[in-house]
Symmetry: C2
Subunit: 469 residues, 2 copies
């Protein structure tokens, strides 16, 4: 049976694009963070949407599970197959053309396999900004960005991947092509299928192309690092900055003292902007459509007010691009400093912004009681309510031993997230990794609706089984 | 049977809130524009979400169709029952409390029956902006705004109702309550049910409450009226303004010469800013989070560049709030001037912005060929690609007679909209009025997915039957 299926696939995609040997398939089966390796019947590499449709039709006919795959940079095991070896991986990597750019409509239509950076660059060539920006932007693809509703550092101003997409082309679980490639900012004609496929992690169909929304390219930006006493002060600063700067505020990143100490220990060459230690730090970025002068003037005035009102304790406003780069380096080296320090247990969570100070205080206390001496490395996109809430072992405790506590630590953190009305997955999605957590925290009413939609659109259950639901 | 059902409803909602006499029900059965009057078994007026759930459960048990109703200001017969008299109207007008406001998180949680203006005012009391702004804001409700994904004048900067909502509470067609009242800007945990209910026009469930996203209140705004030769010039002006002003650009309204002539004829007391006639006009609005001075300075510089580059032919920048009001009055009196001039055939359409000039030229030509002398009154939210494309009778032709051409004119206009990749309903939705048009222009693949979702969530088909699908 599977030989008949594979020969049909070869007929559709061409011999070289149906991979079946262990060596050929290996690069498509590993988890990005190296925690898991799946097995597959084959890896299929279609050249275009028509081939995707034919291949999915074949999978439906032979009841073969399909695992759609983009850049494979996901963090929740959403794009790798399980270990049964019964599924095919459908890699969209060959579908990587920018189909068209419309600078007047500020849209671009791209294949799902385009790399994010390629899209950013193509937009910039037309004096436009595609604002989505992630650590993995050199590898991740548009299809993956949309299937996981990716976030990143520009959400505060421009929204998640969902807000940056106007239309989709999707191959359904029946192998039909839905052409929903609309380039419209207003369209109220029926159910919002677009946003149902966005964030569905490939469980309802395969996104093969998208119309992306572009923005005008800002003329200049200005950066500052502000030292504060507490998270509550950081929230006051956020309100102040939003009131004074509106949409010019494009970055608001929280870092605790522990984070900057970690960076200073492991990257001693990076700048140390303050002589004294403070409790919390916020990295601010303003962008201007006018000029460097407007951005820096607005930032300096706002920071002066924050100091005057004793919200901030100290501040450095970058006066050159290099200095601005140096401040961002501090933020961007936190994860690397953590990796150098050893292993830790990570949480990608979101909370109502107003509850973040109490959430951190309460959850820190619970963890310190259960695991005395544990080190809390907390930073994140405060303007979006998105925290990277990481728990490292107490000094002297072997890291691998501490990792055995992951289930117990997850339970404490996620229970608090739930109690404070938060989300256990802010930007990474559910995949296979958080499926059990999802069923624990979602209401039966919501889970039932999700299952009903899954059964309605994918009655054979062939699309990325074992993920999300 | 229906007596048993009604007595159960009275038990749930209380005697006075189950209306059954013709006189009591009359205010709930009329279309806003007076084109249609429906019939109902009863009008139900629940006091809260619990009662809504019990009432819908009863409707499911007795298989009674449910027509959810907000402010009844819709334009496509979405919130009135048909003439069978078999359905109940479920009016949410008694559920009109602002449940809470969180100025730090910039969210507010409101009952679905809150009037839009009440929500705007409540936000402003906390120095926040709820940007949704419609002509019917004194009557329309949050539930209706969300069920139709309302648009209006602030979409260019802040998006449609969908982009202004973070979470929902919904009563399902089974009478269960889904508490999806999340106040989070990032949440990737499962399918996007929120956006499925938004824009579903009450056919998938009843929205009973919502978490709305607030923005900082701008400090000042500045207005200008620019005269141009052609629609193509208006598109050049849009690109210029977006590049120079970014998110400060909060209004970009196109009006043809015919529109301003109509206003001048029927409202002779309104300002006439230009001595000469021009082909097209654009009303510009900039908002600033800094100061009046910044807004007007930025606007003056941008308009000067537009004149210098011969994109604009003439321009007036308002120097006072009264002058600004006068310019907006011109825009806002177009519909009233049209009503004074007689009847016309209206289209609420959206197009890719870059194709609007060609769309107007082509469609105008088709209509003039088919209906020589017909008058084209075209204006709209150009920054969103949203046109109000209205066709009035030739001079001397009786208006009622001309209206007989509505199907033929709709066909010409909608065929062109479809050919140019546009939408036949930009902000008004489908309701009962455009249902046949929807099935004409949507692909079978898309219609099948919509029907599958409808059947999955509402298998008894009791939620607002005959609307959308």
């Amino acid at each position: 049976m599977s030989e008949e299926f594979l020969s049909h696939c070869r007929h559709i995609a061409g011999e070289p694009f149906v991979l079946t040997t262990a060596a050929d398939m290996a690069p498509y089966l590993d988890d990005w963070r190296g925690r898991f390796t799946g097995k597959a019947l084959a890896v299929l590499r279609p050249a275009g949407t028509g081939q995707v449709a034919q291949l999915v039709k074949a999978c439906a006919h032979w009841r073969i599970p399909v695992v759609p795959q983009g850049g494979r940079t996901g963090l929740v095991l959403g794009s790798v197959p399980d270990q049964s070896g019964s599924a095919v991986v459908l890699s969209l990597s060959r579908m990587n053309q920018v189909r068209s750019i419309d600078a007047v409509n500020r849209t671009m239509t791209v294949d799902a396999g385009c790399i994010l950076q390629q899209v950013q660059d193509a937009a910039a060539l037309h004096d436009c900004l595609y604002p989505l920006s992630l650590a993995s932007e050199g590898s991740c693809t548009v299809g993956g960005n949309l299937s996981t509703n990716a976030g990143g550092t520009a959400v505060l101003r421009y929204g998640n991947a969902r807000e940056l997409c106007l239309g989709l082309e999707v191959v359904t679980p029946q192998g039909d092509i839905w052409n929903g490639l609309r380039a419209l900012r207003k369209d109220n004609t029926g159910y919002d299928l677009r946003d149902l496929f966005i964030g569905a992690e490939g469980t309802l169909g395969v996104i093969t192309a998208a119309v992306l929304k572009l923005h005008p390219l800002p003329k200049a930006s200005s950066t500052a690092l502000v030292a504060l006493g507490t998270v509550r002060d950081a929230l006051d600063l956020l309100t102040l900055m939003q009131d004074r700067c509106g949409a010019c505020l494009t970055g608001f990143e929280l870092m605790s003292a522990v984070c900057l100490e970690l960076v200073a220990t492991h990257f001693p060459d990076l700048p140390r902007p303050f002589a004294r230690l403070h409790g919390q730090y916020v990295l601010l970025e303003l962008s201007s459509c006018e000029s460097e002068q407007q951005a820096s003037g607005m930032l300096e005035r706002a920071v002066a007010v924050a100091l005057e009102r004793c919200i901030a304790r100290d501040a450095v406003v970058a006066t050159s691009a290099a200095q601005s780069r140096g401040l961002w380096d501090l933020r961007e080296h936190i994860s690397m400093a953590q990796a150098k320090a050893g292993k830790n247990i990570k949480h990608d969570i979101a909370l109502p912004i107003s509850r973040i100070a109490r959430f951190i205080a309460t959850t820190d206390a619970h963890l310190r009681e259960a695991f005395p001496g544990c080190v809390l490395v907390t930073f994140g996109h405060l303007g979006d309510g998105n925290l990277h809430y990481n728990v490292a072992p107490p000094e002297g405790v072997p890291h691998d031993e501490f990792l055995d506590n992951e289930p117990a630590i997850n339970r404490i953190v996620h229970d608090q997230v739930d109690a404070f009305g938060g989300s256990i997955s802010a930007e990474h999605g559910i995949g296979a990794l958080k499926r059990d957590e999802l069923s624990r925290y979602k209401s039966p009413v919501e889970l039932d609706m999700m299952r009903a939609i899954k059964a309605a659109l994918d009655p054979l259950g062939i699309m990325n089984p074992g993920k999300v639901l």
